[in-house]
């Protein structure tokens, strides 16, 4: 028996010594380091921010704290929504601190800059925060993964549901930057393909505090639906002021193209009720999402936004891939991520060659104050899931895309 055990151990040791050189380096620098790069104090900090760091730490904890016997470390930094600050931090992380993967990266401008830089330096990025489809098209890279949502997937569910529900003419209030424009274009395409009509659009500067002028223009257009192709504070202000001017009471419908649960919480159900939007995660969707939601609430005092949930899932799946690949070498891990099934709170996705994680999205509707149950979810019983949009319908197909890494 003893002999057998010894020979097994010897064989194992031998096996290891044989496989080690194949797996390039095993775990480089004796640990796996994951960087959470987010907006910690700016306009998107409620969406990602410190909550994303908590989510990443939870993922490490749930994974067991070590991978391949080596410790896992989370570092975090504030990119202040500036592409230059973000890429400077990423550069220092990769050069000096040997960070193996960078996640969150809210804000498309920062997202694109960091993805480019990280790829030059052979480092994986798993972007959960930015929406621009450029990340997996024009600016796609070998190591860049777009994990959670993009400006193509967002309007698919929302616009389709609204047009089919009778909202056939649209007017857009668009945040005047790449993200807003791409959101508007993608929504327009869907509305038109369903026979809807575009009455017009107005480009509001990013960070507008008073949307009243644009809302009155939208009102004057006579469109049935006012599409808000913006995010964060812009969306909140627009919805709040639409309420102030009685736009919805006068019969027009608002459609938020990118809304986070934190926005709904901040607006309150009175103001936001009935708003439909598309999301990648809602805590009260199934057992897996509830389990994470409640655990997150216990740690952070808020239910997770889809971005924070995305960070959790991204870190967890990254660690799984490292384990399966037996190394933190970026090429090997990226290959593994492309092969494995990506578990996203009970639904299954897969990562394509262009870096897009194809997974289900959900059409949700904000509850009215009457539907709200104060005994559920610590005051976060805000949404109801109306439909599931299967991944292959939600996202642009590889054939439609323009990523140079995809052979056609």
């Amino acid at each position: 028996m003893k002999k057998l055990a010894c020979s097994l151990a010897c064989a194992a040791a031998l096996g290891l010594s044989v496989t080690a050189p194949v797996n390039a380096a095993g775990i480089s620098n004796g640990e796996v380091k994951i960087g959470v790069l987010s907006d910690m104090s700016g306009v998107y900090s409620a969406i990602g921010g410190k909550g994303s760091v908590v989510a990443a730490e939870m993922a490490v904890h749930d994974f067991g704290g070590t991978v391949l016997g080596k410790p896992i470390k989370i570092v975090s930094a504030d990119h202040q929504n500036k592409a230059d600050v973000g890429s400077a931090v990423a550069r220092e992380w990769i050069d000096k601190d040997h960070v193996d993967m960078i996640t969150d990266i809210l804000n498309s401008a920062v997202g694109i800059a960091v993805q480019k830089l990280a790829s030059e330096k052979h480092t994986i990025t798993m972007n959960t925060g930015a929406g621009s489809t450029a990340l997996t098209n024009k600016d796609c890279t070998k190591y860049g993964i777009h994990y959670l949502y993009d400006t193509y997937a967002l309007p698919v569910g929302t616009a389709t549901a609204i047009v089919k529900g009778g909202g056939t003419s649209w007017y857009f209030i668009t945040a005047d930057y790449a993200f807003g424009h791409s959101l508007q274009n993608n929504t327009e395409t869907i509305v038109k393909s369903l026979g809807g009509e575009i009455k017009g659009a107005v480009q509001a500067p990013l960070g507008t505090s008073d949307f009243s002028s644009y809302l009155i223009q939208a009102q004057g257009s006579g469109a049935k639906v006012i599409g808000l192709a913006n995010a964060g504070a812009d969306t909140i202000n627009a919805i709040k002021q639409a309420n102030e001017f009685g736009i919805v009471q006068k019969g027009q419908q608002l459609a938020g193209m990118l809304v986070f649960i934190s926005d709904v919480k901040s607006l309150g159900l009175d103001t936001a009720k009935g708003l439909q939007f598309t999301t990648g995660y809602y805590w009260d969707r199934n057992d897996a999402s509830r389990k994470f939601g409640n655990a997150f609430y216990a740690k952070f005092g808020k239910m997770p936004t889809m971005d924070q949930a995305g960070v959790y899932s991204a870190v967890l799946n990254y660690l799984k891939a490292v384990k399966a690949a037996g190394t933190d070498n970026a090429d090997a891990v990226r290959a593994e991520l492309g092969k494995m099934k990506i578990d996203f709170f009970g639904s299954v996705g897969h990562i394509r060659a262009d870096g897009l994680n194809v997974h289900d999205m959900y059409l949700v509707k904000v509850k009215s104050p009457k539907e709200f149950n104060p005994n559920v979810g610590h005051g976060w019983d805000l949404l109801k899931v109306e439909a599931t949009i299967p991944g292959d319908k939600a996202y642009m197909s590889l054939a439609q895309g323009s990523c140079k890494l995809v052979k056609k």
């Binding site: 104090s41 700016g42 306009v43 900090s45 409620a46 005047d176 107005v202 480009q203 509001a204 500067p205 960070g207 507008t208 505090s209 008073d210 009243s212 002028s213 644009y214 009155i216 223009q217 004057g220 964060g232 504070a233 909140i236 202000n237 709040k240 002021q241 102030e244 001017f245 009685g246 006068k250 901040s266 607006l267 309150g268």
Partner: protein, 301 residues
């Protein structure tokens, strides 16, 4: 453009409301500049402070003092917040600004820039940068009224009226009363006024307090319309500077009229070419300063 008249009137009305805020803010700046000769960079931050005082009084103060039901409502905040901001201003003037009068006036601008950074950084640490909605709009001011050409929120109408009244009273006091005469004389010939037995340093202190109290008042008025956030001051201060410069530094009437007018210009730009809405004021400023170096209502130096 072929815009219907109603739409033009509606946009003008919105612009006017925005302009009224510019007017109150730039009025405060102009009063301070007139007497102290410094540009008060902290003006935006003090505007933000006013809004936050209103929000804190409504949401948090009760909890802090152990009486959760205690609230400072909107009307009380409308009086208390400007007073507190004014006192804070007096504190700044007495402890810091007054030490700088004997140096170049630019140091005043730089000092208040530092004050603005401190306030902004402080509130950013504790409050959502996106802004927190102020839920305390009085019931009597909720809802909308039909103006004939548009439906307009009652509260905005109130804010517009209140701003105009404040502007008028300030203008009247400074330009038409004895107190105002002392103030204006103090600007021109401080030594002489001092010789008449008027305490000029006290007058300067109170003027600064009054000027920033106006910023605090604008903050409270703005709270129910815009969200209350740490960056609300930084976003508006540069525009308000432009208003004061275009109106003519230190000119009371100039800053009021320019504020209202530029609000309208901005409103029209939001229809004609929205992306330039935040920049149009600077185009106007460059043109005005090239044609009239001392501003529209300023005196040539």
């Amino acid at each position: 453009m072929g815009l219907p008249l109603d739409a033009v009137l509606a946009q003008a009305m919105l612009g006017l409301t925005q302009g009224a805020f510019y007017a109150v803010l730039s009025l405060g700046l102009a009063v301070i500049f007139g007497l102290l000769n410094i540009i008060n960079f902290a003006h935006g931050a003090l505007y933000m402070l006013g809004a936050f005082l209103a929000l804190i009084g409504l949401n948090q103060l009760g909890g802090w003092i152990g009486a959760p039901d205690f609230q400072i409502n909107f009307w009380a905040a409308l009086v208390l917040a400007p007073l507190l901001v004014g006192l804070f201003g007096i504190l700044i003037e007495r402890t810091m600004l007054s030490r700088l009068y004997k140096f170049d006036h630019l140091y005043g601008l730089l000092l208040t820039f530092g004050v603005a950074l401190v306030l902004q950084g402080f509130f950013t640490n504790y409050y959502n940068v996106n802004g927190t909605p102020y839920p305390g709009t009085p019931a009597s001011l909720r809802g909308i009224v039909n103006l004939g050409f548009m439906y307009f929120p009652k509260y905005r109408l109130f804010a517009l009226a209140a701003s105009l009244v404040v502007c008028f009273i300030t203008w009247y006091v400074i330009e038409r009363t004895k107190l105002g005469a002392y103030l204006r004389a103090g600007t021109e010939k401080p030594e002489l006024v001092q010789a008449f037995g008027i305490n000029v340093p006290l007058m300067i202190t109170l003027t600064y307090g009054f000027g920033v109290a106006l910023a605090g008042l604008a903050g409270v008025l703005a709270a129910p319309i815009y969200s209350v956030g740490p960056l609300m001051g930084a976003n508006v201060i540069i525009t308000v500077f432009a208003v004061v410069v275009i109106g003519g530094m230190g000119s009371i009437l100039g800053s009021i009229l320019t504020g209202l007018a530029l609000g309208m210009v901005e409103g029209i730009t939001k229809v004609v070419y929205p992306p330039a809405a935040n920049t149009v004021i600077f185009f106007v400023m460059v043109i005005i300063l090239l044609v009239r170096p001392a501003g529209l209502f300023g005196r040539e130096v």
